[in-house]
Each structure stands twice: as C-alpha cells, then as structure tokens.
Amino acid sequence: MNKNWKWIKVLLVFIGCFILQTTVGSWLQIFGAGPDFIIIMIVSIAIKFGPAAGCFWGFCAGFTQDVYAPVEWLGAHTVSMTILGFIVGQLEEKFLTLNQPAKVGVLGLGFFICDMIYFFMTGLEKEVVTNLFFSKTIPECIYTVVVGALVFHLSMAKKKKHV
C-alpha cells in the first residue's frame, strides 16, 4: 500500500509539473527564457528514488514533450531525459550524501547534458546549435538552477520541520 501510494504521489507530482510548465512556465519568462520545471522534477525524482525511477520518469517526461515536437525529432527528448534521469540517479547512488549545493550543481550539469544530447539527436546545424546554446541553453539553465535551488531548499525545510 505504502509503495503504491509512493507511485501515485510521484505520478501526481509528474502531472503537476506539466501543468506548471504549460501555465506558470510561460508567465515566468524573462526575455523569452523560462525555468524548466520538468528537468527539476526528473532530477528530484532521480535523487530521491535512484536511477531506475529516474530513467523511467525521464522517459515518460521526454516522450510527453516529443509528442508535441516535430515528428522528425521524435525520440530526441525521450533519449536525452532518460539519460539525464539515469546519470543523476547514479550520481546519487555513488555519492550518497548529495547536499543541497551538490544537488543544485547536478541540476545545472544535468540541464547541459540534456540539451547537448537533444541537439545531437535533432541533427541541427552547428551554427544553429551555437546560437541556441547562447540564446536558450545558458539563460534557461541559470533560471532553472535558481528555481531548482528554491525548490530543493523548500523541500529540505519541509523535511526538517517534519523530522
């Protein structure tokens, strides 16, 4: 029962994140750059539940994004987010005491890895990728890291209070 409840809780967080991304995500945009709640969610899940859960929810989140992307790029988000979930889960397993700054660092690193794999999968030209890297990846990574730090801090504070 407890295990089932965990699954339902993660599923609700997953749906909530997508609602957040499609509503609040666009309101929070500054100069066209907004935070990526989906990546924050995958990193959080992978840190909390390990690599298997990380790559499963990464796969689900990536596929959801791929459905609305150009058909030619189907699978690009799926692969990049599956890898992200797995790598973050592995890092958590290998370095069991991931403290808050480390989590934020992993989030930033994960964002870059995810984008690089995505650009590689889509087969975009080098010039276009460079342009996207500076106009999208860097500002959105910084924004996501800031929002992620806040999310991690809040969840940590909640946990402490609970304890």
């Binding site: 499609t22 690599p51 990380g54 990464g58 596929f63 609305y68 150009p70 030619e72 599956t82």
Partner: protein
C-alpha cells in the same frame, strides 16, 4: 500474473537500474530511427488516447477562470462592433460591386471554424499546438490557421474531435511571403524551432520594421495574412538574397483561440502533398 509483474519490476530495479536504462534508451532510439509513418502513428495514438483528454481537462479549468473577464470584454466589444457593422456592410456592398466590375476573385471568402487551444508542447521548443476542432467540424489537413494577430500555422493532422497545428516556428514549415511595402516575394522558415528568418532579394531594399504577409503562392495560405515584421537584417550566403530575422505578430505560447480557414490546398498542391 503478480509474480510476473514483480519479476519484471525486480529486474528493472536491480543492478542500479541498468536494465531499465538500456530498455528505455533502446525504446527512445527505436522511436527516433523509425520511419516517418510509424512515428506519425505513435504520436497520433499517444495524442488521441492520453494527452488530448488530459490536456482538455486542464484547458477547461483555465478557460473557466478566464470566462468572466472575457465576457465583460466581449460585451464592450459587441457594442462597438454593432455600431461598426452598419458602416462595414455599406462598405462591403460597395466593394462587392467593385469586385464584380473588375472580375476580382475574393480569396478570403472561406468559412471559418473557431477553435480553442487545448494543448501545447510542455517543453521549451513550442512548435505544435492541439486544437479542439477536428474532421467532425470540417477541419482537414493543410488548412491555414490564424488568429486576430495574424498567421499561426497550418493543420498537419486532423482527428475526429481534435487537430494538430504546425506553428510557423516549426522547422518543417516553410512558406512564401510578400513584403507589404516593396511587394517583393521572399521565403520564410525557422531553422531552429525558435526564431523565424526570411530570405528576400537584396534589390528589394527591405528595411527593419517592414511587414511580411503571406504571398498566396504556396497554394496553402491565402494572400494577405500578416506574418510578422523584420527585426534585423543580416547578409546571406548568397549576395542576391538578404537573410533577416522576423518577429512574428503572435506570441505562440499565449495563444488561446485560433481560427481555421476552411480552405483546402489548390489541386496541384494537393497532388504534390499526396505524393
């Protein structure tokens, strides 16, 4: 049955999730490498069964919240429009008489289907939206979609109750445009799924701030729908053409209602598309 499920779950969670990782990675790669027809059917199946119903619920909640303020706004607009209708109908009658005189074909005389945006890409690259109108409402593939501000894109897949709209920023959508001031035809596309760029002959002397409209030459979009304004002019690889960044009239992430023009592609274009 339960044993089998438990066995699979154990297999996936053991060995630090490597089995799960390899499985999901292969699945993703297979999707990426699949033929276009297979990819289309994967996307259509996922949209029709899971994503469309879910986003329909979310969209309904959003719509309910904005209905009150929208109602007030519409009442005011209605009063203004009633006043203008009289003058407009007079003008239209005059225009119709003139059209008959010069045998001008009114390209905009198509029925319009109003649709609500019920879903869009939750990711950062917004290239597709889902609308709540499908073949049962007369929507077909390759029909132009626009809003009060200008061109939005075209219908790429029409199901019974919903359709998928390819936005102007989709790298696969390329269209012929006309610069309103100089009347020179150019070519608009998005290479990165994020920004719009146009190529227009250098001799036209297009300047920053000029407006681009659809040229009507592609056979899908009628002539005269506003597309965007020239934001920055860059040199292209070919000196005869100028590459320019275009700022669309639309904020695609904030689209709520759109209009589908029930205009089917001209027969020659349709044949090419079918091929």
């Amino acid at each position: 049955m339960l044993r089998a499920i438990r066995f699979i779950l154990n297999l996936f969670s053991k060995r630090h999730g490597i089995v799960a990782f390899v499985f999901f990675l292969l699945l993703g790669l297979m999707m990426h490498r699949a033929p276009t027809v297979t990819r289309e059917s994967i996307v259509s199946a996922a949209l029709g069964t899971v994503f469309y119903p879910a986003q329909m619920v979310i969209s309904s909640l959003n719509a309910y919240r904005s209905v009150v303020s929208e109602n007030e706004q519409l009442k005011e607009e209605n009063a203004k429009l009633r006043q203008e209708t009289y003058y407009a109908s007079e003008g239209l009658q005059e225009l119709a008489r003139l059209h008959t005189l010069v045998r001008f074909d009114d390209k905009w005389d198509y029925p319009i289907v109003t649709a609500r945006v019920v879903g869009h890409n939750p990711g950062r690259f917004l290239t597709t939206i889902i609308i709540n109108r499908g073949t049962s409402h007369g929507v077909k593939e390759n029909m132009p979609v626009f809003s009060m501000d200008g061109l939005v894109g075209k219908v790429t897949k029409a199901a019974l109750t919903h359709s998928r709209v390819q936005l102007l920023v989709d790298p696969n959508l390329k269209l012929s445009v006309l610069e309103r001031r100089t009347r020179v035809v150019g070519f608009l596309e998005s290479v990165d799924g994020h920004l719009l760029s146009a190529q227009i002959p250098t001799h036209a002397g297009v300047q920053v701030g000029d407006t681009l409209i659809t040229s009507g030459l592609g056979g899908i979009f009628p002539k005269g729908i506003p597309v965007g304004t020239v934001k920055e002019i860059r040199s292209a690889d070919l000196e005869v053409m100028r590459m320019m960044d275009v700022a669309p009239f639309q904020v695609f992430s904030k689209l709520e209602e759109v209009f589908v023009m029930e205009k089917e592609p001209e027969w020659i274009i349709q044949e090419l598309l079918d091929e």
